[in-house]
Symmetry: C2
Subunit: 238 residues, 2 copies
Amino acid sequence: MGPGQWPADCHWPGDVTRDGHNPKVNDPIRPTESHAECFADLVRWRRDVRRFKTDAVPETTIDQLLALADLSPSVGNSQPWRVVRVKSADARAAIRKNFETANAAASNIYTDPQQRSDYLALKLAGFDAAPEHIAILSDHDSDQGQGLGRQTMPEMLDYSCVSFVTTLWYAARAQGLGMGWVSILDPNAAKSLLSVPENWHLIAYLLIGYAQEHHLDPELERHGWQPRTPRTTRTLDR
Amino acid sequence: MGPGQWPADCHWPGDVTRDGHNPKVNDPIRPTESHAECFADLVRWRRDVRRFKTDAVPETTIDQLLALADLSPSVGNSQPWRVVRVKSADARAAIRKNFETANAAASNIYTDPQQRSDYLALKLAGFDAAPEHIAILSDHDSDQGQGLGRQTMPEMLDYSCVSFVTTLWYAARAQGLGMGWVSILDPNAAKSLLSVPENWHLIAYLLIGYAQEHHLDPELERHGWQPRTPRTTRTLDR
């Protein structure tokens, strides 16, 4: 693929832009007020969704979301993300059991009975209804990028995969979809269930579908677990 | 802050929406085709920028970018990101030296003389001109979130900070700004230079400013170091 050309598998509503030309060839970069407004909407609208409708998501939509996320930043242009679409009912059931075990163990860190009871009352994942299960893994064996940018911070490979997940999240919201990131899992046991190479490292287990409810405030705030707090910013000026 | 209210420090062009109401109160979530198109533009336009103009960025713009990024996903609503605006000339010089040392060491992994020479010819950071230096650190000591979602994957705190960086990147592009993520640093030495608490962990050192050039293709692809490759997606269906 030469400079200025576009990956053949990237199809998206933006493929033909509002002024009618095709961004697969080199295209001027012209952010407008709409870009800022629309992105701000998506950031405000994004939620960690745990209450899904069971309605199927069109396969073309999932393909578009993944193709767009494939343009996320990656250290040394390494694209270390590996995507596993989990469609097997057995694998889904095993992952859900992994979550339930990890969640029960996590509840035991709360020695205060009220806090433990509050924790157990939270709905922390949408396994009951989400139609799409997608695991994102970080390939620690890939030579892509020739090691650039990750000699002193090898975690940059995993961080690149997190950027992929974040891009996917906003892209999903732009399509009217919700996403939830399940991190209450034994990651190595989960990885084994996915039958992936030894050096693919689990970054995220994602549930995707249409949300049952829409909220501007985080679920954990709404249910009294954790409000937002003011941002901490320091200035180093001498 | 009650449910459905908006953080007081979040000001953004979207604060008054196109249909004239204020999203600080609970607002319907109505993604349109524009949201998908505009976000796809931002993802395609995002670059790791290393060639900046020296023009100053308005302080209100930086504040808006950080306020929006503060709405990024975080495990357990923990908001573990800590922001350090690096304005000190001495600190900037010391960070730049850290980069130069790490970069020289990184070049020595390339035993092939041509590959090493290609590496050294790449411009990998915009310290010479970028007007804004912002470090993002992950606070491993914070109790915010009460540990939720990170018992089996404690790296979720750092991953939340990466989501903050990714959001900031797209937000910057929407404002016509470029950002570069410098990862060729000794992160512990860099952290010491920033005079932060022991348990703040360096996630990213970011350079921000107006880009000298605009490209749809990654710099590392354009300069022949690493092209994009097709995405790897597997389906687990039994």
